[in-house]
Homo-oligomer: 423 residues x 2
């Protein structure tokens, strides 16, 4: 309802009423953690057959035994699997250990210490900046903070980052060295970049010769429905435009097999891959290739992955749909909040006006934890105090039901409090 | 034999004779690669029961499901296992992915970029230097080269690095930030540091507050015989001396289970561990904890590891003993070469006078590959051209027999050639 037209007296009554309602809901006394996009137990069970057969797989590969040293770029079958996922050549892929975030961090650190290809190390170029579409993924922003890289916040639209803002910036400022993107089922807004946005990112004029697009394709195969969003292959555009060296793309099986114990990969031009492998020679002996063989034998190919992802979707979909149903019922037509309706990925993004922090606080006080408000913005500064990231994957349906009731009540309380303050 | 007292004419005859001998040997035409300390196929089979039971283990740990995100320091059972190996507390341990070299590299990079504890980043301290006992492990030296860290070569003695050389250096020069050590069954000389050397390293006066001992205990449980070398626990000494923050220790299961697909760990003071974990928060989501559980369930504890290592020793010992036998027969009493008689580890160290490169070249020309001569020294500069590292683990006994015959012949040819040049 629209609280702005309600009298102070009436608001106080509504507040008391809603506080009673919250007390009633929380009588069940559940503790629900929705802070991160963690797979739930049922999802983790999907990959157990992979371990059941682990001793049966053939580890003696053409390039050498996967159980021994060597093959630092990853085993060929894993390179081929991710080449199919990224839709690039195996030579354009590196397969590494569990987390793609680790590859991203390393690429930034390589750039800081040694420079990108033949360019001066970022450590020696003075102030470095990154374009950070927001709301976005907090762990991307954390890496920038760690390295003292200035973050330029750019709004996300329903088609991707606002390119009208980005293009003039990167064209004129050579200290802007990169952009963070989650192009499909974006974290947290759930949107998929339009073809036009993909094309503009791949072809835009950049002042810095060592500018890199960190294309974190974390949810590349993570559809909730058969009508999977179509993301244009940025490498195809870049190859035609001669900007292939600009793109670093990432993916992992953290939400396909095991969180953090899967395998991860990056795709880039062969020039980039060769340069990165030269750095990595000093850093690693090699990735866990046994785990790579185990993964490839289990997942087989993109079709095999899609079968596994359907099992994930069947577990996740009801949780997303429960949120949609309850929020539609509670807030249909209310213009003081809006939420995303993602067709894939791990998050629902909720926008409220000026009371995100308070909502998260109220929910937290009764045992329902959300990602701290502000986390989805650079420096954790959400000027409008508007965005809350909902991660429905981990709780059970029952916990989810409870958490949404709490959240709905918390939203109402925070809204009434806000109106009261304004009176 | 002593070629220096042989006439040129006689030497030429001997050379022809030996060249014929080499031709005879190489009729079998084998290709043998002894460049790295790779486990052989039979060794890799030892760990296969670990995979057979991978689906049966209980991954639901107190701190959370090992198959999910979280527990970035490693799972508790793995921390406890390595605490027992290092003889420290679990709180003084981080368990990471496959290769301890990766941890070492990261620690150097953290120090370069962010500094050690509260000290100025090494990147901002001008020239940085490391003490490099040699012959030593080439991959340690490579990391220094990568970061432009000056390497100060210090001789290895039969008790460890020459402390009489090291102590005055580190006491007076604050730009010396560390020392590389492989304290047990050293790579490549096979010696174990004496108690006195361990004590001196832990207690010596160092000018740099951010000096670190990189104690690469790669062969901590890698005995070839029941009479395992005893290495004094450097942490015990350091704790008493109040120098605990100085020590970083490393180990891995690369030569216990699978090369590069095992688990690795470091031990250090809690102050260091906390600081390192703060850096790692930005870098990783977490290690492969499924692999950690699999390893702990298979290895159980230090006793369990010793049982596994006995199986390794039974495979490796005959190879080391074959070398010893054939070299004793060929060169007993010859004073132009000497070789190590390790009781553990992965290498035999061979010292010749002024013809290491030529020997490796001759052997390589007939298909027997050794680590390039010089590799065991900083900048690959072995002034005396003396050291050759022999890695007996990977070849079969038959291949080993062949490779040693080739090596013996190559040594004789190189020696005769050297004497001829001097005539």
């Amino acid at each position: 309802m629209n609280y702005s037209e309600v009298s102070a007296e009436e608001l106080n009554k509504l507040l008391q009423q809603e506080q009673k309602e919250l007390k009633k809901i929380t009588k069940r006394g559940l503790q629900v953690d929705m802070t991160r996009g963690r797979p739930c137990k049922e999802q983790l069970e999907i990959a157990m057959p992979m371990l059941e057969k682990a001793a049966e797989y053939d580890y003696a590969l053409k390039a050498g035994d996967a159980r021994n040293y060597g093959q630092p770029q990853g085993v060929r079958p894993a390179l081929e699997l991710f080449a199919e996922i990224f839709d690039v050549k195996p030579e354009e892929v590196i397969v590494a250990d569990g987390a793609s975030l680790n590859i991203m961090y390393n690429l930034i650190q390589f750039a800081m210490q040694f420079g990108v290809l033949d360019n001066t190390p970022w450590n020696k170029q003075g102030k470095i900046k990154f374009i950070c579409p927001a709301p976005g993924y907090d762990r991307h922003f954390s890496i920038c903070e760690k390295f003292g890289i200035d973050m330029i916040t750019v709004p996300m639209t329903k088609n991707g980052p606002d390119m009208d803002v980005i293009e003039p910036l990167v064209a004129s400022d050579a200290s802007i060295k990169g952009i963070w993107c989650v192009p499909k089922y974006s974290n947290p807004t759930g949107i998929t970049f339009s073809d036009k946005v993909v094309e503009r990112i791949a072809t835009m004029k950049v002042a810095a010769p060592d500018f890199r697009v960190f294309w974190d394709n974390a949810y590349i195969v993570h559809a909730l429905y058969d009508t999977d969003d179509k993301l244009k292959n940025i490498f195809d555009v870049a190859k035609k435009a001669g900007t292939m060296d600009r793109i670093y793309s990432f993916a992992s099986t953290s939400k396909i097999t095991f969180g953090g114990s899967g395998i991860s990969a990056m795709a880039a031009s062969e020039t980039n891959i060769k340069s990165i492998m030269k750095h990595m020679f000093y850093m690693i002996i090699g990735p866990n290739k046994v785990n790579q063989v185990i993964h490839v034998e289990f997942l087989k190919d993109l079709d095999g992955i899609k079968k596994v992802m359907k099992m994930h979707a069947d577990i996740l979909r009801p949780k997303f749909e429960l949120f949609e149903k309850k929020f539609s019922e509670a807030f249909e037509g209310d213009n003081y909040l809006s939420w995303s309706h993602p067709k894939g990925g791990y998050f629902i993004s909720l926008d409220v006006k000026g009371c995100a922090k308070r909502i998260v606080e109220i929910a937290g006080s009764v045992g329902v934890k959300f990602t701290p408000a502000g986390s989805t913005f650079p420096y954790k500064i959400d000027d409008a105090d508007s965005n809350i990231r909902i991660a429905p994957s981990c709780p059970s349906l029952e916990e989810m039901d409870y958490a949404i009731d709490v959240l709905i009540s918390a939203i109402k309380i925070a809204q009434i409090e806000l109106q009261l303050k304004r009176k």
